[in-house]
């Protein structure tokens, strides 16, 4: 009936030692520098047959960053409709949270259900890589859309627009709105946002063209993709440069905040705001003429193109190599760029004439 006791100290020591021993069991000394990256494509050696017919009854699945995200829902619904158009069966599955690992179980499920193609918008380019490679080994076509995976884990990536086009479109829109004359500023997200900075550099290059000689970029401000901060930055810009003619905000948070500030200030109608925004955020500012025109890609076209890419890969029309041509129904043809990228096209411009056609 007595409870035997041992020295817990011993247990403690044993546990620690055991854990350490376990960790040292693997010998060697691989470091980041000595490790070689395995960049081999799982699905290589296949040849494309551009004349192959689109197979009927393909099983396609969209795996968004998270379900119940309004933007992703539009993309996926449009893709599902497009798949129906070429007699494929498509569905959307996905996690309710956008965490790095949450998509992994879904990829396994889609492998088990023997889908022909998976269209994925990756939460983490690498966390999904292992299972995606497994899927590719089982002849499942992988299309990344909207947000890329590591290149070796997918066949193609549907990119919203090329950086050059995004930069060019924004400069173009502003030039039109201010008659290519005067000072303007850029209201960006964070100072180290990779895509924003790439666009800003390309915008500067674009501004070297002779037709923009009278336009002057006076400042790049950062609103950190925070509504309040972007609002204050807009205010600051207008105080610092009273003769400012326009603001380009290549971020959906920034453009809405800038438009809101201009809308409620004496600058309404005098200072142009343009950039990248979503129609739902910007509708009121278009309607009350604070903003004339802004741009973004059309999410419906993005889903449409992703579905066609999945179908074409699964039917053997393309394999994802540079130079192959994807036939994408109503969208026409797209040539595959280096690194398996397929570019949707120039951004879609939204203005008073067309904004009510877009709900996202």
């Amino acid at each position: 009936m007595t409870v035997r006791l041992r020295l817990p100290r011993r247990v403690f020591a044993a546990a620690t030692a055991g854990a350490l021993a376990l960790s040292l069991a693997a010998c060697g000394g691989t470091t980041k520098d000595s490790a070689e990256s395995s960049g081999d494509k799982a699905a290589s050696g296949k040849t494309a047959n551009p004349n192959a017919p689109m197979e009927k009854g393909l099983k396609l699945a969209f795996l968004p960053k998270q379900v119940n995200n309004p933007y992703m829902k539009i993309v996926d619904d449009s893709g599902i409709a497009a798949a129906k158009g070429f007699e494929a069966e498509a569905k959307e599955v996905g996690p309710s949270d956008a965490s790095a690992s949450s998509q992994v179980s879904y990829i396994n499920t889609l492998i088990q259900q023997q889908h022909d193609a998976i269209m994925i918008s990756a939460n983490d380019p690498n966390a999904v890589c292992g299972p995606l490679k497994q899927a590719m080994q089982q002849d499942i076509a992988i299309v990344a859309y909207d947000s890329d995976t590591a290149p070796e884990c997918r066949d193609v990536f549907i990119k919203q627009a090329s950086s050059e086009d995004i930069a060019r479109t924004q400069v173009e829109m502003l030039a039109e709105q201010i008659d290519s004359k005067g000072k303007f500023a850029i209201l960006s997200a964070t100072a180290n946002a990779t895509n924003q900075n790439a666009w800003i550099e390309l915008m500067k290059k674009e501004l070297e063209k002779p037709e923009y000689a009278e336009m002057e970029l006076v400042k790049v401000a950062y609103g950190d993709d925070d509504d309040q901060k972007s609002f204050q930055q807009t205010q600051g810009l207008l105080q610092a440069y009273p003769d400012l003619k326009g603001i380009i905000a290549p971020t959906t948070v920034g453009i809405a905040a800038a438009a809101r500030y201009i809308d409620g200030s004496e600058y309404k109608g005098k200072v142009a705001v343009t950039g990248l925004g979503t129609p739902n955020q910007m509708r009121q500012f278009i309607k009350n003429k604070t903003v004339e025109e802004f741009a973004l890609w059309d999410p419906k076209q993005l889903g449409y193109l992703a579905a066609y890419a999945g179908g074409a890969l699964a039917s053997g029309q393309i394999t994802g190599k540079e130079g192959e041509v994807l036939k994408a129904g109503d969208l026409g043809e797209r040539t595959i760029q280096p690194n398996g990228e397929i570019i949707l096209g120039p951004p879609t411009k939204f203005n008073a004439d067309n904004i009510d056609e877009f709900q996202f």
Binding site: M1, V3, R4, L5, R6, P8, R9, V11, F12, A15, T16, A19, L20, L22, S23, L24, A26, C27, G28, G29, T30, T31, K32, D33, A35, E36, S37, S38, V67, K91, V93, G94, P95, S96, D97, S99, A100, S101, V104, S105, Y106, N108, T109, I111, Q112, Q113, Q114, D124, P125, N126, A127, C129, G130, A150
Partner: protein, 340 residues
């Protein structure tokens, strides 16, 4: 002393049934799964379902010991995240995985010891302490790595977490789990330490006066919990090939759900490790099965939530029922320890 011993054996006797019930549920899910979904029963899928449970299963082992002695560690998932972030940071800094592993495990040990000290030295309730350290460790994870990710781990190591033991459908992390589970089972059910844990959980004061070094044992358990969470952090990082500060977010709740579903009384003192292992498998296979049938994530969480409520409620109802039955028969009502 005698009264305590009787209540423990009585509790154990009662929970053999719970364990049987959860094992029956496991069999039902397995057999039903094969019937419902043609893709469920193949070894590839089952291997995946097991591998997907790696970290939950590992962390459930020390968690079982903690809950048996009336404690809980809510900081495990944050320790996992911190250790994942640290693994990424050190790897990015050019350190080898062999050098990183002991450092990371040591950090897990420190995290566990901090929990243990706060609980034992300051006498704070573990629920409150580990809610605090949960936030603290997750914050440290973000300080370590920010919101970015470190990847590009060498395939030799990622394969270790992705491949099966040759010739079997058992993934390596699950094989490691099996070894640790046997060790934990022996400690809990076949040694004096295990009996001490049950005694502490049932009646901490009585255990103390019986000469059990309550504080020391608790401290060790929290330390072990930290080390195992760190180990899970390394496995998680390599398995997904992605070190991030937000890795394993919310995982502690699944672990605790498994422990409770496995029949460990949240007040301590009762339960078996076998029940917990069966419960971990039930949760994993059920999730896998629901996914294969395209059941949405929201509905999945409803199913797990209901299972959990049933698992917490049923023993209480049985206890109440028995007490009422006992009174009707005029027998002596159960001791407070046994009915709690």
């Amino acid at each position: 002393m005698t009264s305590d011993a009787r209540s423990i054996s009585g509790a154990a006797g009662r929970f053999v049934r719970w364990e049987t019930a959860i094992t029956a549920l496991l069999v039902a899910v397995f057999v039903g799964g094969i019937g419902v979904s043609p893709d469920f029963g193949n070894s590839g899928n089952l291997s995946f379902a097991l591998r997907d449970l790696s970290e939950i299963a590992l962390i459930a082992l020390p968690m079982t010991l903690l809950v048996v002695c009336g404690q809980v560690d809510l900081s495990v998932a944050s320790v996992l995240g911190l250790c994942s972030a640290l693994t990424g940071k050190l790897w990015d800094g050019g350190m080898s995985i062999e050098a990183i592993i002991p450092i990371v495990l040591a950090v897990g040990l420190v995290c566990g010891l901090i929990n243990g000290f706060l609980v034992t030295k300051l006498g704070l309730p573990s629920l409150a302490v580990t809610i605090g350290t949960m936030t603290l460790y997750r914050g440290l994870a973000y300080v370590t790595l920010g919101t970015g990710a470190v990847s590009q781990f060498p395939s030799t190591y990622t394969d270790m977490t992705l491949n099966n033991v040759p010739g079997t459908p058992i993934p390596y992390p699950i094989a490691l789990f099996a070894v640790l589970a046997v060790a934990t089972g022996v400690v809990l059910h076949a040694t004096g330490i295990g009996r001490s844990l049950f005694a502490i959980g049932a009646q901490e004061d009585a255990a103390y006066f019986a000469g059990i070094r309550v504080k020391r044992i608790k401290l060790v358990l929290f330390a072990v919990s930290g080390v195992v969470a760190a180990l899970a952090g390394i496995i998680y990082t390599l398995r997904y090939g992605s070190a991030r500060a937000d890795n394993g977010l919310g995982l502690e709740l699944t672990v605790i759900a498994a422990v409770l579903l496995g029949g460990i009384d949240f007040d301590g003192g009762k339960g078996t490790l076998g029940g917990v292992i069966a419960a971990v498998l039930v949760i994993g296979l059920l999730r896998n099965l629901l996914m294969l049938n395209d059941v949405s994530t929201e509905t999945q969480s409803i199913v797990t939530g209901l299972l959990l409520i049933i698992s917490v409620l049923t023993p209480r109802l049985i206890a109440v029922f028995r007490e009422a039955q006992g009174r009707r028969r005029g027998a002596r009502p159960a001791t407070p320890a046994a009915s709690s």
